[in-house]
Symmetry: C2
Subunit: 295 residues, 2 copies
DNA sequence: ATTATTCCATAACTTTTATTTATAGACAAG
DNA sequence: CTTGTCTATAAATAAAAGTTATGGAATAAT
């Protein structure tokens, strides 16, 4: 069926007057006559009966009108729904992050975003940086928030905010007694380290390398909670991004040990396939991140 | 929204491959690309994301696909429904008749028609010949089955079958003793007559007039059942169409009195506004009447 | 790794479809 | 019986959809 014909039929059937239907459609009356004649020819059914000057719907016409009504209702609904997506009143955003970000960084951002766009549901998935990058390619996620700084070729990334990586330990730990410490001194103290592949670990090791040092490793663990548990018991010191230990610092459970000669930071990157193909929601999320990083 | 665009989008979204969508639509691939580009421009939303060689639906695209699905389902349903009307598998026929026909003539025809087209519902309305003719103009009825022989100008009519108008009386009535009677003799016997406006009355009176006679009237009544009641009690004789007294004749409650010099008949007419605007159902009904009249 | 193949985008051109203007004819109402 | 209101038709025009040809990017195959 030709929906152009159907739309002309629909208005004509509602008005039962071709001239007025033409006005509503902003076309000329002969256009209406022709379109309806064509539709009747296509369907091989008379849709209107004309008696004298008046137009009536035939049985088939009445039937078709019901369907036309439902079809154009759906059309309106669809346009409304699309507009809501455009205005970010509705929709979904799939973000992939690493564990640390998911736990300590994202909650704030997400609740802030939710306040701005209450109709949008955010789906957060966790995994390694590599997995999250992969998830961009198969469209499972639209954004990946990771710390690594190099990505496969077609990907694009935006840096937002800088995370301090703090040296922390129990207030009872020997290091906590010192006012500050140099990297060289630190190299003598065994550290608790994140697992291989962790961005934090990479940042720390890189910094040691840069100073032509190498750290002593007490334990290696992938679970951040577990590491904090160890530290609280006085078992060594570790580098952790500030946002992940903010609570423990303010509670006095852990203490920051100032490093006098360097400061380790990590850039957070929001990665996506292509700037141009970002949804409005994703764009809004990125915008929010960029504005919020300064606060 | 442009439904041409939507149809192209629909196939593309199902295939997630523009070239295959083009095949399904029997158009070239560039046509698909262009149509989708236009739709995206109209809606101001990206519907597809392209990553390398692969095509994915965007959030808005997924949303639109759902609506498109429902719209094209409705389209199919509509076409199916229209076809059922075309094949007279479904539909309604509104017929207007006079009381006598409705009671004695139509039941047979209608049950026969129903056997042929079980999906069609027949709506029978009763009224005077004039009212039924009126009902054609305001489209309340599509067909009128009446006996009158002249109609307002745009109407068309088909005669079908001929109804004998019989002189009947109780077997105990004086006239019933005679083997036959002439009109001239009959003019002396007071008759029970149908009301003014009745087609039967008109046929009888016309016949008397033609013979330069005028009948004696005993009673006048509009209700045929009432007239038969009177006759059965021996109160006079009356002219009644055969089909309306067939039962009483076979039961011997009433008796036909042969008229030797004339026979009164009434043509039944099926009247409609215009041959060309008749629905297939109405046409089928007329066809059935014309075939059935010979049996 | 180089080649072949798949797939979408773009441009210029053609065909098809929709629409317009002009006009006529049928009714209906004053 | 004339005037205004409708729809139908024809010829011409405008708009939309579609085509062919071609390029480039990405994947798959040799």
């Amino acid at each position: 069926m030709n929906f152009n014909h159907l739309r002309v039929f629909y208005e004509s059937a509602r008005e039962l007057n071709f001239s007025r239907a033409a006005e509503r459609l902003s076309i000329s009356q002969p256009a209406v006559s022709i379109q309806i004649k064509q539709l009747e020819a296509m369907l091989q059914v008379k849709l209107f009966n004309k008696i004298g000057n008046k137009v009536f719907l035939s049985g088939a016409g009445k039937l078709l009108l019901e369907y036309a009504q439902r079809i154009f209702e759906l059309e309106n609904e669809a346009e409304k729904a699309i507009n809501e997506v455009k205005e970010i009143k509705k929709g979904a955003l799939h973000i992939g992050t690493t564990k640390t970000y998911a736990h300590y960084l994202m909650p704030n951002y997400i609740s802030h975003f939710h306040a701005l766009y209450p109709g949008v549901s955010i789906h957060l998935s966790e995994g390694s940086s590599l997995e999250m990058i992969q998830s961009l390619f198969n469209m499972q996620n639209e954004l990946a928030i990771v710390a690594s700084t190099e990505y496969p070729k077609p990907l694009q990334a935006t840096a937002f905010g800088e995370e301090e990586v703090l040296l922390v330990a129990s207030p009872d730990h020997i290091l906590a007694k010192k006012n500050s410490i140099t990297m060289k001194e630190l190299a003598r103290f065994p550290l608790v380290m994140r697992e291989e592949g962790s961005a934090t670990r990479k940042a720390v090791i890189d910094m040691f390398k840069k100073m032509r040092l190498s750290p002593a490793i007490l334990y290696e663990a992938s679970n951040l909670e577990f590491i904090k548990e160890l530290l609280e018991r006085g078992e060594g010191a570790s580098f952790i991004v500030r946002s992940a230990v903010e609570k423990e610092l303010s509670q006095g459970i852990l203490k920051e040990i100032a490093i006098s000669d360097v400061s380790i930071t990590m850039r957070t990157n929001i990665v996506y396939v292509n700037e141009d193909s970002l949804s409005r929601i994703a764009r809004a999320f990125i915008d929010m991140l960029l504005i919020w990083q300064d606060e």
